[in-house]
Amino acid sequence: MNKTPVCTVQKAGLFTTIQDTGRIGYQHLGVPASGAMDMYALQMGNALCGNDLSAAGLELTLMGPALTFHEETVIAVTGGNLQPQVNKEPIPMWATRKVYVGDELAFKGPAHGARAYLCVAGGLEVPMVLGSRSTYTKAGIGGMEGRELEGGDVLYRGTVHDGPRPFERRLPKASVPVYEKQQTLRVVAGPEFDTLTAEAGSRLLREAYVVTQEADRMGIRLEGPEVSFHHTGDIISDGVAFGTVQLASDGQPMILMADRQTTGGYARVLNVISADLSKAAQLQPNASVMFVQVTLEEAQIAFRQLHRSLEDVYFAVKNKKWR
Protein backbone atom coordinates (compact mmCIF):
# COMPACT_ATOMS: atom_id res chain seq x y z
CA MET A 1 0.00 0.00 0.00
CA ASN A 2 1.35 3.41 -0.95
CA LYS A 3 1.52 5.39 2.24
CA THR A 4 3.18 8.80 2.29
CA PRO A 5 3.29 11.20 5.26
CA VAL A 6 1.45 14.30 4.14
CA CYS A 7 1.19 16.52 7.21
CA THR A 8 1.66 16.76 10.98
CA VAL A 9 -1.01 18.01 13.36
CA GLN A 10 0.32 21.01 15.33
CA LYS A 11 -2.94 21.81 17.12
CA ALA A 12 -5.85 19.39 17.12
CA GLY A 13 -8.78 21.82 17.02
CA LEU A 14 -12.09 21.30 18.85
CA PHE A 15 -13.07 17.86 17.54
CA THR A 16 -11.18 16.70 14.46
CA THR A 17 -11.74 13.17 13.18
CA ILE A 18 -11.01 11.11 10.08
CA GLN A 19 -14.24 10.23 8.23
CA ASP A 20 -15.21 8.60 4.96
CA THR A 21 -18.66 7.75 3.61
CA GLY A 22 -19.40 5.43 6.51
CA ARG A 23 -19.33 1.90 7.83
CA ILE A 24 -21.78 -0.16 5.81
CA GLY A 25 -22.76 -3.72 6.68
CA TYR A 26 -22.30 -3.86 10.47
CA GLN A 27 -25.38 -2.10 11.79
CA HIS A 28 -27.00 -5.49 12.48
CA LEU A 29 -24.28 -5.96 15.14
CA GLY A 30 -25.10 -2.58 16.68
CA VAL A 31 -22.17 -0.77 15.04
CA PRO A 32 -23.19 2.78 14.02
CA ALA A 33 -22.70 3.80 10.39
CA SER A 34 -20.62 6.90 11.25
CA GLY A 35 -19.04 8.68 8.25
CA ALA A 36 -19.05 12.38 7.40
CA MET A 37 -21.89 14.41 8.89
CA ASP A 38 -21.99 16.52 5.71
CA MET A 39 -21.52 13.79 3.12
CA TYR A 40 -21.94 16.15 0.14
CA ALA A 41 -19.09 18.39 1.35
CA LEU A 42 -16.70 15.46 1.89
CA GLN A 43 -17.55 13.91 -1.46
CA MET A 44 -17.26 17.20 -3.34
CA GLY A 45 -13.85 17.78 -1.72
CA ASN A 46 -12.81 14.33 -2.92
CA ALA A 47 -14.14 14.98 -6.42
CA LEU A 48 -12.17 18.24 -6.66
CA CYS A 49 -8.99 16.46 -5.53
CA GLY A 50 -9.46 13.67 -8.07
CA ASN A 51 -10.13 11.08 -5.32
CA ASP A 52 -12.75 8.37 -5.17
CA LEU A 53 -15.90 9.93 -3.74
CA SER A 54 -15.65 7.60 -0.74
CA ALA A 55 -12.05 8.52 0.21
CA ALA A 56 -11.34 9.59 3.79
CA GLY A 57 -10.81 13.22 4.77
CA LEU A 58 -10.76 15.24 7.98
CA GLU A 59 -13.96 16.45 9.57
CA LEU A 60 -13.33 19.69 11.45
CA THR A 61 -15.75 21.00 14.04
CA LEU A 62 -16.16 24.79 14.63
CA MET A 63 -12.51 25.37 15.62
CA GLY A 64 -10.26 23.74 13.04
CA PRO A 65 -6.77 22.30 13.59
CA ALA A 66 -3.36 23.64 12.55
CA LEU A 67 -1.41 21.38 10.18
CA THR A 68 2.07 21.54 8.62
CA PHE A 69 2.63 19.88 5.26
CA HIS A 70 5.55 17.59 4.46
CA GLU A 71 5.16 17.49 0.71
CA GLU A 72 3.88 19.39 -2.25
CA THR A 73 0.30 18.31 -2.72
CA VAL A 74 -3.24 19.38 -3.57
CA ILE A 75 -5.91 19.96 -0.93
CA ALA A 76 -9.51 21.18 -0.88
CA VAL A 77 -11.49 22.59 2.04
CA THR A 78 -15.28 22.26 1.77
CA GLY A 79 -18.36 22.38 4.00
CA GLY A 80 -18.98 25.06 6.63
CA ASN A 81 -16.77 28.13 6.31
CA LEU A 82 -14.30 27.92 9.19
CA GLN A 83 -12.09 30.48 7.36
CA PRO A 84 -9.12 28.40 6.22
CA GLN A 85 -5.73 30.08 5.86
CA VAL A 86 -2.45 28.93 4.40
CA ASN A 87 0.50 30.72 6.02
CA LYS A 88 -2.03 33.19 7.48
CA GLU A 89 -3.43 34.12 4.04
CA PRO A 90 -7.12 33.27 3.48
CA ILE A 91 -7.73 30.55 0.90
CA PRO A 92 -11.00 29.94 -0.96
CA MET A 93 -13.37 27.17 0.12
CA TRP A 94 -14.74 24.62 -2.38
CA ALA A 95 -11.58 24.88 -4.48
CA THR A 96 -8.33 22.98 -4.86
CA ARG A 97 -5.21 24.59 -3.59
CA LYS A 98 -1.61 23.57 -4.02
CA VAL A 99 0.43 23.51 -0.81
CA TYR A 100 4.21 23.21 -0.45
CA VAL A 101 6.62 21.69 2.04
CA GLY A 102 6.43 23.64 5.30
CA ASP A 103 3.12 25.37 4.53
CA GLU A 104 0.81 25.77 7.50
CA LEU A 105 -2.96 25.33 7.19
CA ALA A 106 -5.00 26.86 10.01
CA PHE A 107 -8.56 28.11 10.58
CA LYS A 108 -9.71 31.47 11.88
CA GLY A 109 -13.06 30.27 13.22
CA PRO A 110 -16.62 29.64 12.05
CA ALA A 111 -18.20 32.21 9.72
CA HIS A 112 -20.99 29.96 8.37
CA GLY A 113 -21.90 26.41 9.31
CA ALA A 114 -20.38 24.09 11.90
CA ARG A 115 -18.19 21.54 10.09
CA ALA A 116 -15.58 21.76 7.37
CA TYR A 117 -13.82 18.97 5.47
CA LEU A 118 -10.19 18.81 4.48
CA CYS A 119 -9.54 16.51 1.55
CA VAL A 120 -6.05 15.65 0.34
CA ALA A 121 -5.15 14.25 -3.08
CA GLY A 122 -4.88 10.48 -2.60
CA GLY A 123 -7.23 10.47 0.40
CA LEU A 124 -6.17 9.93 4.03
CA GLU A 125 -4.72 6.50 4.65
CA VAL A 126 -5.50 4.71 7.92
CA PRO A 127 -6.29 1.02 8.46
CA MET A 128 -9.80 -0.03 7.51
CA VAL A 129 -11.83 -1.19 10.50
CA LEU A 130 -14.97 -3.13 9.61
CA GLY A 131 -14.79 -1.88 6.05
CA SER A 132 -14.37 1.83 6.77
CA ARG A 133 -11.83 4.48 7.77
CA SER A 134 -14.44 6.47 9.70
CA THR A 135 -13.78 7.23 13.34
CA TYR A 136 -16.36 6.15 15.91
CA THR A 137 -14.90 7.49 19.13
CA LYS A 138 -17.47 5.96 21.50
CA ALA A 139 -16.30 2.43 20.64
CA GLY A 140 -12.75 3.57 19.83
CA ILE A 141 -12.75 2.21 16.28
CA GLY A 142 -11.58 3.52 12.92
CA GLY A 143 -9.68 6.67 11.93
CA MET A 144 -6.65 7.59 14.04
CA GLU A 145 -6.61 4.76 16.62
CA GLY A 146 -10.34 5.23 17.18
CA ARG A 147 -9.98 8.74 18.59
CA GLU A 148 -10.09 12.41 17.65
CA LEU A 149 -6.79 13.86 16.42
CA GLU A 150 -4.17 15.11 18.87
CA GLY A 151 -1.17 17.42 18.44
CA GLY A 152 1.78 15.46 17.04
CA ASP A 153 -0.29 13.03 14.96
CA VAL A 154 1.10 12.42 11.49
CA LEU A 155 -1.41 11.93 8.65
CA TYR A 156 -0.66 9.71 5.67
CA ARG A 157 -2.20 9.70 2.24
CA GLY A 158 -2.97 7.02 -0.32
CA THR A 159 -2.10 6.84 -4.00
CA VAL A 160 -2.78 9.94 -6.11
CA HIS A 161 -4.72 8.97 -9.25
CA ASP A 162 -4.80 12.43 -10.67
CA GLY A 163 -1.66 12.59 -12.85
CA PRO A 164 -0.40 16.14 -13.41
CA ARG A 165 -1.87 18.21 -10.62
CA PRO A 166 -3.95 21.23 -11.49
CA PHE A 167 -3.21 24.49 -9.79
CA GLU A 168 -6.73 25.48 -8.86
CA ARG A 169 -10.20 24.18 -9.59
CA ARG A 170 -13.02 26.20 -8.12
CA LEU A 171 -16.54 24.89 -7.82
CA PRO A 172 -19.14 27.03 -9.63
CA LYS A 173 -21.18 29.08 -7.17
CA ALA A 174 -24.39 27.26 -8.10
CA SER A 175 -22.99 24.02 -6.66
CA VAL A 176 -21.86 25.58 -3.37
CA PRO A 177 -24.48 25.04 -0.67
CA VAL A 178 -25.67 27.93 1.46
CA TYR A 179 -25.86 27.16 5.17
CA GLU A 180 -28.41 29.43 6.82
CA LYS A 181 -28.99 30.33 10.46
CA GLN A 182 -32.69 29.85 9.77
CA GLN A 183 -32.84 26.58 7.95
CA THR A 184 -35.71 24.87 6.24
CA LEU A 185 -35.31 21.10 6.11
CA ARG A 186 -37.43 18.97 3.80
CA VAL A 187 -38.81 15.83 5.44
CA VAL A 188 -40.86 12.76 4.62
CA ALA A 189 -43.28 11.25 7.14
CA GLY A 190 -41.82 8.52 9.36
CA PRO A 191 -43.35 5.18 10.46
CA GLU A 192 -44.93 6.69 13.60
CA PHE A 193 -46.13 10.00 12.15
CA ASP A 194 -49.70 8.79 12.51
CA THR A 195 -49.34 8.27 16.26
CA LEU A 196 -49.32 12.07 16.58
CA THR A 197 -52.61 13.85 17.07
CA ALA A 198 -53.67 15.72 13.91
CA GLU A 199 -52.97 19.01 15.61
CA ALA A 200 -49.54 17.86 16.77
CA GLY A 201 -48.63 16.69 13.29
CA SER A 202 -49.48 19.99 11.67
CA ARG A 203 -47.74 21.93 14.45
CA LEU A 204 -44.53 19.96 13.91
CA LEU A 205 -44.64 20.99 10.25
CA ARG A 206 -45.53 24.62 10.89
CA GLU A 207 -43.55 25.88 13.88
CA ALA A 208 -39.87 26.83 14.15
CA TYR A 209 -37.60 24.79 16.41
CA VAL A 210 -34.33 25.93 17.97
CA VAL A 211 -31.11 23.89 17.98
CA THR A 212 -30.00 23.25 21.59
CA GLN A 213 -26.44 22.87 22.89
CA GLU A 214 -26.86 19.11 22.53
CA ALA A 215 -25.85 18.93 18.90
CA ASP A 216 -23.08 16.49 18.06
CA ARG A 217 -22.22 13.65 15.68
CA MET A 218 -24.87 11.45 17.27
CA GLY A 219 -27.80 13.80 16.94
CA ILE A 220 -29.21 17.30 17.10
CA ARG A 221 -31.70 17.98 19.86
CA LEU A 222 -34.27 20.66 19.07
CA GLU A 223 -36.51 22.67 21.34
CA GLY A 224 -39.85 24.20 20.51
CA PRO A 225 -43.59 23.77 20.87
CA GLU A 226 -44.32 20.49 22.62
CA VAL A 227 -45.97 17.87 20.44
CA SER A 228 -48.26 15.22 21.86
CA PHE A 229 -49.29 11.71 20.89
CA HIS A 230 -52.60 9.87 20.82
CA HIS A 231 -51.24 7.41 23.40
CA THR A 232 -47.51 7.19 23.90
CA GLY A 233 -44.58 8.00 21.68
CA ASP A 234 -42.41 5.13 22.81
CA ILE A 235 -42.06 2.09 20.57
CA ILE A 236 -40.48 -1.33 20.77
CA SER A 237 -36.80 -0.64 19.91
CA ASP A 238 -36.55 -0.45 16.14
CA GLY A 239 -34.32 0.62 13.25
CA VAL A 240 -33.55 4.25 12.44
CA ALA A 241 -31.78 6.03 9.56
CA PHE A 242 -29.57 9.07 8.97
CA GLY A 243 -31.91 12.03 9.46
CA THR A 244 -34.62 10.20 11.40
CA VAL A 245 -36.47 12.71 13.58
CA GLN A 246 -37.34 11.03 16.85
CA LEU A 247 -39.82 12.49 19.26
CA ALA A 248 -38.97 11.71 22.88
CA SER A 249 -41.64 11.38 25.55
CA ASP A 250 -41.03 15.03 26.48
CA GLY A 251 -42.42 16.00 23.07
CA GLN A 252 -39.16 17.48 21.74
CA PRO A 253 -37.63 16.33 18.43
CA MET A 254 -34.11 15.05 17.84
CA ILE A 255 -32.52 14.60 14.40
CA LEU A 256 -30.35 11.46 14.34
CA MET A 257 -27.01 12.00 12.60
CA ALA A 258 -23.89 10.05 11.55
CA ASP A 259 -23.00 8.37 14.88
CA ARG A 260 -26.64 7.51 15.73
CA GLN A 261 -27.26 4.26 17.58
CA THR A 262 -28.54 1.61 15.20
CA THR A 263 -31.91 1.24 16.93
CA GLY A 264 -34.05 3.43 19.16
CA GLY A 265 -37.16 3.33 21.29
CA TYR A 266 -38.68 6.71 20.45
CA ALA A 267 -41.31 7.44 17.81
CA ARG A 268 -39.84 8.05 14.34
CA VAL A 269 -42.16 10.80 13.23
CA LEU A 270 -40.22 12.36 10.34
CA ASN A 271 -37.08 11.83 8.30
CA VAL A 272 -34.95 14.66 6.90
CA ILE A 273 -34.44 13.89 3.22
CA SER A 274 -30.92 12.87 2.12
CA ALA A 275 -30.49 15.98 -0.04
CA ASP A 276 -30.95 18.21 3.05
CA LEU A 277 -28.77 16.27 5.52
CA SER A 278 -25.82 18.56 4.70
CA LYS A 279 -27.81 21.54 5.90
CA ALA A 280 -28.70 19.70 9.11
CA ALA A 281 -25.02 18.78 9.63
CA GLN A 282 -24.08 22.46 9.49
CA LEU A 283 -26.58 23.64 12.14
CA GLN A 284 -25.08 25.40 15.13
CA PRO A 285 -26.72 25.77 18.56
CA ASN A 286 -29.39 28.52 18.54
CA ALA A 287 -30.03 28.18 14.80
CA SER A 288 -33.69 27.72 13.92
CA VAL A 289 -35.21 24.89 11.93
CA MET A 290 -38.50 24.44 10.13
CA PHE A 291 -39.68 21.16 8.65
CA VAL A 292 -41.43 21.08 5.27
CA GLN A 293 -43.05 17.86 4.12
CA VAL A 294 -42.35 16.44 0.65
CA THR A 295 -43.16 13.10 -0.98
CA LEU A 296 -40.75 10.17 -1.14
CA GLU A 297 -40.53 10.67 -4.89
CA GLU A 298 -39.57 14.34 -4.52
CA ALA A 299 -36.97 13.37 -1.91
CA GLN A 300 -35.35 10.85 -4.22
CA ILE A 301 -35.36 13.23 -7.19
CA ALA A 302 -33.58 15.83 -5.04
CA PHE A 303 -31.01 13.20 -4.00
CA ARG A 304 -30.38 12.17 -7.60
CA GLN A 305 -29.83 15.80 -8.61
CA LEU A 306 -27.35 16.31 -5.81
CA HIS A 307 -25.52 13.15 -6.75
CA ARG A 308 -25.39 14.19 -10.39
CA SER A 309 -23.62 17.43 -9.47
CA LEU A 310 -21.03 15.35 -7.57
CA GLU A 311 -20.54 13.01 -10.50
CA ASP A 312 -20.23 15.92 -12.96
CA VAL A 313 -17.26 17.25 -11.02
CA TYR A 314 -15.83 13.78 -10.39
CA PHE A 315 -15.82 12.83 -14.09
CA ALA A 316 -14.71 16.27 -15.30
CA VAL A 317 -11.62 15.93 -13.09
CA LYS A 318 -11.05 12.25 -13.93
CA ASN A 319 -11.31 12.78 -17.67
CA LYS A 320 -9.04 15.83 -17.54
CA LYS A 321 -11.79 18.02 -18.94
CA TRP A 322 -11.14 20.37 -16.07
CA ARG A 323 -7.60 21.39 -15.42
Binding site: G25, H28, L29, G30, S237, D238, A241, N271, I273, S274
Partner: protein, 240 residues
Protein backbone atom coordinates in the same frame (compact mmCIF):
# COMPACT_ATOMS: atom_id res chain seq x y z
CA UNK B 1 -46.64 -7.70 7.13
CA UNK B 2 -46.37 -3.96 6.39
CA UNK B 3 -43.68 -2.08 4.49
CA UNK B 4 -43.16 1.62 5.21
CA UNK B 5 -40.38 4.07 4.32
CA UNK B 6 -37.86 5.38 6.86
CA UNK B 7 -36.61 8.35 4.90
CA UNK B 8 -35.54 8.07 1.26
CA UNK B 9 -32.84 5.39 1.68
CA UNK B 10 -34.40 2.87 4.07
CA UNK B 11 -37.63 1.00 4.64
CA UNK B 12 -39.10 -0.98 7.49
CA UNK B 13 -40.71 -4.38 7.06
CA UNK B 14 -42.98 -4.63 10.08
CA UNK B 15 -44.58 -7.64 11.71
CA UNK B 16 -46.94 -7.80 14.71
CA UNK B 17 -46.26 -5.01 17.19
CA UNK B 18 -45.30 -7.23 20.15
CA UNK B 19 -42.16 -8.60 21.77
CA UNK B 20 -42.30 -12.35 21.22
CA UNK B 21 -39.82 -14.96 20.00
CA UNK B 22 -42.26 -16.17 17.31
CA UNK B 23 -42.62 -12.67 15.76
CA UNK B 24 -38.87 -12.10 16.07
CA UNK B 25 -38.19 -15.39 14.28
CA UNK B 26 -40.13 -14.13 11.23
CA UNK B 27 -37.85 -11.07 11.19
CA UNK B 28 -34.76 -13.26 11.20
CA UNK B 29 -36.13 -15.64 8.59
CA UNK B 30 -36.79 -12.73 6.23
CA UNK B 31 -33.31 -11.37 7.04
CA UNK B 32 -31.73 -14.72 6.05
CA UNK B 33 -33.90 -15.03 2.94
CA UNK B 34 -32.91 -11.55 1.73
CA UNK B 35 -29.25 -12.29 2.46
CA UNK B 36 -29.52 -15.32 0.19
CA UNK B 37 -31.34 -13.38 -2.54
CA UNK B 38 -28.85 -10.45 -2.49
CA UNK B 39 -31.07 -8.06 -4.46
CA UNK B 40 -29.15 -5.26 -6.21
CA UNK B 41 -29.25 -1.93 -4.43
CA UNK B 42 -29.68 -3.25 -0.87
CA UNK B 43 -26.82 -1.98 1.30
CA UNK B 44 -27.60 -3.83 4.51
CA UNK B 45 -30.45 -5.10 6.67
CA UNK B 46 -30.94 -4.70 10.41
CA UNK B 47 -33.23 -7.07 12.30
CA UNK B 48 -34.93 -5.73 15.42
CA UNK B 49 -37.65 -7.13 17.72
CA UNK B 50 -40.55 -6.96 15.25
CA UNK B 51 -39.17 -5.40 12.07
CA UNK B 52 -36.44 -5.63 9.49
CA UNK B 53 -34.91 -2.32 8.42
CA UNK B 54 -33.64 -2.47 4.85
CA UNK B 55 -31.10 0.19 3.79
CA UNK B 56 -30.92 0.73 0.04
CA UNK B 57 -29.30 2.94 -2.57
CA UNK B 58 -32.05 4.95 -4.31
CA UNK B 59 -29.68 5.52 -7.25
CA UNK B 60 -29.72 1.79 -7.90
CA UNK B 61 -33.19 0.64 -6.94
CA UNK B 62 -36.70 2.08 -6.67
CA UNK B 63 -38.71 1.89 -3.46
CA UNK B 64 -41.73 0.37 -5.25
CA UNK B 65 -39.56 -2.33 -6.81
CA UNK B 66 -38.02 -3.28 -3.45
CA UNK B 67 -41.45 -3.20 -1.82
CA UNK B 68 -42.77 -5.79 -4.28
CA UNK B 69 -39.60 -7.86 -4.22
CA UNK B 70 -39.63 -8.15 -0.41
CA UNK B 71 -43.29 -9.21 -0.54
CA UNK B 72 -42.37 -11.96 -2.98
CA UNK B 73 -39.40 -13.13 -0.95
CA UNK B 74 -41.64 -13.24 2.13
CA UNK B 75 -44.32 -15.29 0.38
CA UNK B 76 -41.76 -17.73 -0.98
CA UNK B 77 -40.08 -18.24 2.40
CA UNK B 78 -40.04 -21.83 3.62
CA UNK B 79 -42.68 -22.84 6.08
CA UNK B 80 -41.40 -22.20 9.56
CA UNK B 81 -39.34 -25.17 10.53
CA UNK B 82 -38.39 -25.62 14.15
CA UNK B 83 -35.44 -23.23 14.27
CA UNK B 84 -32.63 -24.90 16.16
CA UNK B 85 -31.42 -22.78 19.03
CA UNK B 86 -28.00 -22.78 20.59
CA UNK B 87 -27.39 -21.80 24.17
CA UNK B 88 -24.42 -19.55 24.97
CA UNK B 89 -23.01 -19.74 28.50
CA UNK B 90 -21.51 -16.51 29.77
CA UNK B 91 -19.43 -16.68 32.97
CA UNK B 92 -20.38 -13.92 35.44
CA UNK B 93 -18.90 -12.99 38.79
CA UNK B 94 -21.87 -11.66 40.74
CA UNK B 95 -21.54 -9.08 43.52
CA UNK B 96 -18.10 -8.53 45.02
CA UNK B 97 -16.41 -5.48 43.55
CA UNK B 98 -18.15 -6.08 40.21
CA UNK B 99 -21.81 -5.75 41.18
CA UNK B 100 -22.05 -2.57 43.18
CA UNK B 101 -25.86 -2.45 43.04
CA UNK B 102 -26.65 -6.09 43.86
CA UNK B 103 -27.30 -5.60 47.59
CA UNK B 104 -29.62 -2.65 47.07
CA UNK B 105 -31.40 -4.47 44.25
CA UNK B 106 -31.84 -7.51 46.50
CA UNK B 107 -33.30 -5.53 49.37
CA UNK B 108 -35.57 -3.48 47.08
CA UNK B 109 -37.02 -6.74 45.80
CA UNK B 110 -37.09 -8.39 49.25
CA UNK B 111 -34.64 -11.07 48.20
CA UNK B 112 -31.26 -12.18 49.48
CA UNK B 113 -28.20 -11.64 47.29
CA UNK B 114 -27.98 -15.42 46.81
CA UNK B 115 -31.58 -15.48 45.59
CA UNK B 116 -30.84 -12.72 43.07
CA UNK B 117 -27.90 -14.73 41.71
CA UNK B 118 -29.98 -17.92 41.66
CA UNK B 119 -32.92 -16.26 39.82
CA UNK B 120 -30.72 -14.42 37.34
CA UNK B 121 -28.59 -17.44 36.45
CA UNK B 122 -31.35 -20.04 36.22
CA UNK B 123 -33.24 -18.56 33.24
CA UNK B 124 -32.48 -18.96 29.56
CA UNK B 125 -32.71 -15.57 27.88
CA UNK B 126 -33.83 -15.23 24.27
CA UNK B 127 -31.52 -12.95 22.24
CA UNK B 128 -33.88 -10.76 20.19
CA UNK B 129 -31.42 -8.39 18.57
CA UNK B 130 -28.12 -6.52 18.87
CA UNK B 131 -28.12 -2.75 19.17
CA UNK B 132 -27.72 0.21 21.54
CA UNK B 133 -23.92 -0.24 21.50
CA UNK B 134 -21.83 -2.60 19.28
CA UNK B 135 -22.57 -6.21 20.27
CA UNK B 136 -25.11 -5.37 23.00
CA UNK B 137 -27.81 -8.08 23.22
CA UNK B 138 -31.46 -7.25 23.86
CA UNK B 139 -32.60 -10.17 26.02
CA UNK B 140 -36.06 -11.45 26.89
CA UNK B 141 -37.06 -13.56 29.85
CA UNK B 142 -36.01 -11.75 33.03
CA UNK B 143 -37.81 -13.17 36.09
CA UNK B 144 -40.44 -10.67 37.29
CA UNK B 145 -39.07 -10.79 40.80
CA UNK B 146 -35.92 -9.08 39.50
CA UNK B 147 -37.59 -6.21 37.62
CA UNK B 148 -36.02 -3.03 39.05
CA UNK B 149 -36.23 0.60 37.89
CA UNK B 150 -33.06 2.05 36.37
CA UNK B 151 -30.89 4.49 38.37
CA UNK B 152 -32.28 8.00 38.69
CA UNK B 153 -28.92 9.44 37.69
CA UNK B 154 -26.98 7.42 35.10
CA UNK B 155 -23.29 6.78 35.78
CA UNK B 156 -20.80 8.57 33.53
CA UNK B 157 -18.97 5.31 32.85
CA UNK B 158 -19.96 1.67 33.19
CA UNK B 159 -17.24 -0.80 32.26
CA UNK B 160 -17.61 -3.23 29.39
CA UNK B 161 -18.71 -6.64 30.67
CA UNK B 162 -20.91 -5.24 33.44
CA UNK B 163 -24.15 -7.19 33.83
CA UNK B 164 -27.15 -5.07 34.66
CA UNK B 165 -30.89 -4.90 35.18
CA UNK B 166 -33.16 -2.04 34.07
CA UNK B 167 -36.91 -2.40 34.49
CA UNK B 168 -37.91 -5.69 32.78
CA UNK B 169 -34.59 -6.03 30.91
CA UNK B 170 -31.24 -7.57 31.68
CA UNK B 171 -28.14 -7.11 29.57
CA UNK B 172 -24.37 -6.86 29.39
CA UNK B 173 -22.53 -3.62 28.57
CA UNK B 174 -20.55 -4.42 25.43
CA UNK B 175 -18.25 -1.38 25.53
CA UNK B 176 -17.41 1.19 28.23
CA UNK B 177 -20.29 3.65 28.13
CA UNK B 178 -22.47 5.87 30.29
CA UNK B 179 -25.43 3.98 31.70
CA UNK B 180 -28.19 3.82 34.27
CA UNK B 181 -28.65 0.08 34.76
CA UNK B 182 -28.36 -1.60 38.18
CA UNK B 183 -25.06 -3.47 38.02
CA UNK B 184 -25.10 -6.92 39.64
CA UNK B 185 -21.93 -8.54 38.25
CA UNK B 186 -19.41 -8.67 35.45
CA UNK B 187 -18.21 -11.07 32.78
CA UNK B 188 -14.54 -11.18 31.76
CA UNK B 189 -15.58 -12.08 28.20
CA UNK B 190 -15.72 -9.37 25.50
CA UNK B 191 -19.05 -9.10 23.69
CA UNK B 192 -17.52 -7.04 20.90
CA UNK B 193 -14.10 -6.96 19.29
CA UNK B 194 -13.71 -5.10 15.99
CA UNK B 195 -10.52 -7.08 15.21
CA UNK B 196 -12.35 -10.44 15.12
CA UNK B 197 -13.76 -11.98 11.95
CA UNK B 198 -17.03 -12.21 13.85
CA UNK B 199 -16.91 -8.95 15.83
CA UNK B 200 -20.00 -9.73 17.96
CA UNK B 201 -19.91 -12.67 20.39
CA UNK B 202 -23.64 -13.38 20.32
CA UNK B 203 -26.10 -14.07 17.51
CA UNK B 204 -29.78 -13.16 17.75
CA UNK B 205 -32.32 -15.97 17.65
CA UNK B 206 -30.37 -18.05 20.18
CA UNK B 207 -30.39 -18.36 23.95
CA UNK B 208 -28.07 -16.96 26.60
CA UNK B 209 -27.47 -18.23 30.12
CA UNK B 210 -25.35 -16.65 32.84
CA UNK B 211 -23.04 -18.99 34.75
CA UNK B 212 -21.96 -17.81 38.21
CA UNK B 213 -18.20 -17.99 38.76
CA UNK B 214 -16.10 -17.11 41.81
CA UNK B 215 -13.69 -14.20 41.78
CA UNK B 216 -10.68 -16.51 41.37
CA UNK B 217 -12.19 -18.20 38.35
CA UNK B 218 -13.11 -14.80 36.89
CA UNK B 219 -9.43 -13.77 37.05
CA UNK B 220 -8.34 -17.04 35.40
CA UNK B 221 -10.85 -16.61 32.57
CA UNK B 222 -9.83 -12.99 32.16
CA UNK B 223 -6.19 -14.01 31.68
CA UNK B 224 -7.21 -16.59 29.14
CA UNK B 225 -9.39 -14.00 27.33
CA UNK B 226 -6.43 -11.61 27.19
CA UNK B 227 -4.24 -14.32 25.68
CA UNK B 228 -6.94 -14.80 23.05
CA UNK B 229 -7.43 -18.41 24.15
CA UNK B 230 -10.88 -18.33 25.68
CA UNK B 231 -14.11 -19.22 23.95
CA UNK B 232 -17.45 -19.48 25.68
CA UNK B 233 -19.34 -22.74 25.97
CA UNK B 234 -22.04 -23.15 23.34
CA UNK B 235 -24.55 -25.95 23.63
CA UNK B 236 -26.42 -26.96 20.53
CA UNK B 237 -30.05 -27.90 20.85
CA UNK B 238 -30.56 -31.58 21.59
CA UNK B 239 -27.35 -31.84 23.62
CA UNK B 240 -27.63 -32.42 27.31
Amino acid sequence: MDIVPIGDQALSVQFENVISPSVNRKVHRLYEALKKEQPAGIRECVPSYRALTVYYDPLQVQYEYLHDLIHHVFLRMDEESEASMNTYYLPVCYGASFGQDIERLASENELSVDEVVELHSSSSYFIYMLGFTPGFPYLGGLDERLHTPRLETPRAKVEAGSVGIADAQTGVYSIDSPGGWNIIGKTPVSLFNAANDEPALLTPGHLLRFEPVEYKEYIEIEKSVNRGEYSIRVEEEGET
